[in-house]
């Protein structure tokens, strides 16, 4: 069975590692530990795709955080089947770095599905509807408000993105 590479990118401290560890290991830690380079997580899951449950294999790339995508992030993104762009709802200026990361994905990986994860929803409200609509229009992306702390919406984020990857629905859905 083919494994699919999914990269998880975004500014540092937004919760990329926490989201992956919540999905793969169902754990959460309040202690912040910076990710250096990339940490890989292999994970098998059963995902509903086009009405049937399918076993899937994923390699999740937890990529070192940066406010803007740089050379290193581009290197690590090579060959990815999809991407999750993570933002921190407690930061007032979160949207622009997320757009820049999504622009990099579109340029490097055209047609690959993108998911936007607005994380820390347990302590901050969802973004304005206008912001969500603008991101949906521009990138055709999945948009989910998540909480790695409580686990809210985390599995569905990864599963919905996987369904898009395997179902062949690319960026402009």
């Amino acid at each position: 069975m083919k494994a699919h590479k999914v990269i998880v990118i975004g500014d540092f401290g937004v919760g990329k590692t926490s989201l992956i560890r919540r999905y793969v290991l169902d754990v959460f830690s309040d202690q912040y530990r910076a990710t250096l380079g990339v940490h890989l997580y292999k994970h098998s899951d059963i995902v509903p795709i086009d009405g049937t449950e399918q076993q899937v294999k994923l390699v999740l790339w937890d990529i070192e955080g940066a406010p803007l995508p740089g050379e290193q992030m581009m290197r690590y993104s090579l060959g990815a089947s999809g991407a999750i762009v993570v933002g921190d709802l407690t930061r007032p200026d979160m949207i622009e770095p997320m757009r820049r990361a999504a622009d990099m994905i579109e340029a490097r990986l055209p047609g690959r599905p993108i998911g936007f994860a607005f994380n820390k929803h347990d302590i901050a409200p969802a973004p304005d509807d206008s912001n969500i609509a603008a991101l949906k229009d521009r990138y055709g992306a999945l948009i989910t408000c998540t909480s790695a702390k409580t686990g809210d919406a985390v599995p569905n984020l990864f599963r919905d993105l996987t369904a898009r990857i395997i179902g062949g629905k690319g960026g402009a859905v």
């Binding site: 494994a3 912040y32 380079g37 990339v38 390699v59 290193q72 060959g79």
Partner: protein, 370 residues
């Protein structure tokens, strides 16, 4: 037969903690040079090096460009490796080089961690600084408003008193004396109200505004406040009616503060209503069990922008009513509602009147509600 024939090359690779893995076009391992990490001949290299999953197209290029400086398995926290790919032009073999970077990584990781922690701390400090600046500006604006609101009625008091005390040959006509005396009295009342409101607001901001709760009958309070409001000068020609729900519950609250809430809302309503208008006070027990008191008028209403201004201390969006209140009423009502764990809400549209409601939680009601 090995493609790395030179003994020196082997020594060099092992000394640099590099494992060189030769793979075929199917990415099956054909040769391994170096022994610090376990890669077995005959296996798919992607099983040991999952970082290569998804990179098959690039690996099969004539000049593959794959440089991954720090890669580790997140689940097991294995030592990080740097991965690079080289094609040997003499033999066309594809070599994957895995270099142990654990020493660099430990230093680099500390640096990245410190950099990120400092950046996050910087952002938090910047946010705190912005919040402090905003609060400082709000305080300055507040003080300016207080000064302005104090000066206006004080000027009336001083001006009126100056006229009355001025020696003159002929005494002032009686109606002038009455007018100036009334102005001085009204301004004094307004000043007293302003000072009382300021004290309440200041106590609320510092968490010192207290309530003294007891069981009380909201209908009695509402009736009393409606009678008082009918006596307000602006209430002339305005109809104020009470429409109670079928069985109003007893309320565990501070009756003085509930009166304050109602009087503020009623006096706001009468100020904006023209003669002939109607103000309704309604009570309702909601499905949730909460008890809602609404003061509804059919006045000019407010736009969302004006409503936001009205909810700020001293916010008076309508210039016509500016001289007739302190502009602190709604801010105080909101805080008094908070103290009772009640929800204060305003529903209004420009030209469609305004309904200000306070919903007391079910826990504050006697069990005879319904």
């Amino acid at each position: 037969m090995s493609d790395v024939k030179s003994f020196d090359a082997r020594i060099l690779l092992e000394g640099a903690r590099i494992v060189a893995v030769r793979v075929d076009e199917d990415l099956v391992v054909r040769e391994v040079v170096g022994d610090w990490c376990e890669v077995s001949v005959g296996e798919d290299v992607r099983d040991t090096v999952p970082a290569l999953i998804g990179m098959e197209d690039e690996l099969l290029q004539e000049l593959p460009y794959i440089q991954l400086p720090f890669v580790s398995l997140g689940m097991s926290h294995e030592q990080p490796v740097a991965i690079s790919v080289q094609r040997d032009w003499k033999t066309q073999s594809l070599w994957i080089l895995l270099r142990d970077v654990s020493e660099e990584a430990s230093v680099q990781e500390r640096l990245v961690h410190q950099h990120n922690a400092l950046s996050l701390a910087h952002r938090e400090l910047a946010a705190a600084r912005d919040a402090a600046l905003t609060a400082d500006k709000a305080k300055t604006r507040f003080l300016a408003n207080v000064s302005h609101e104090l000066r206006t009625p004080l000027n009336v008091v001083i001006g009126g008193a100056s006229i009355l005390r001025k020696p003159r040959e002929k005494p002032l006509p009686t109606e002038d004396v009455v007018t100036f005396s009334n102005d001085i009295h009204d301004s004094g009342v307004l000043l007293l109200q302003l000072v009382d409101d300021l004290i309440d607001l200041s106590r609320a901001e510092t968490g010192n505004l207290t309530i003294h709760e007891e069981w009380c009958n909201p209908s009695v309070i509402i009736d009393e406040m409606i009678r008082l409001s009918r006596g307000l000068p602006e209430a002339k020609g305005v109809e104020i009616v009470y429409e109670p729900c079928a069985k109003a519950p007893e309320l565990f609250a501070d009756p003085r503060r509930v009166k304050q809430i109602l009087l503020n809302l009623l006096s706001n309503a009468v100020k904006v209503c023209d003669p002939g208008s109607r103000i309704q006070v309604e009570t309702e027990v909601l499905e949730s069990g909460d008890f809602k008191i609404t003061v509804r008028d059919n006045g000019p209403g407010m736009s969302p922008a004006d409503l936001a201004i009205a909810l700020e201390p001293f916010g008076q969006p309508n210039a016509e009513t500016r001289s007739r209140g302190t502009g602190l009423g709604l801010a105080i009502v909101a805080r008094l509602a908070d103290l009772h764990q009640a929800k204060f809400d305003i529903a209004t549209k420009l030209g469609e009147g305004l309904a200000a409601s306070t919903s007391f939680p079910v826990e504050r009601l006697s069990s005879n509600a319904g």
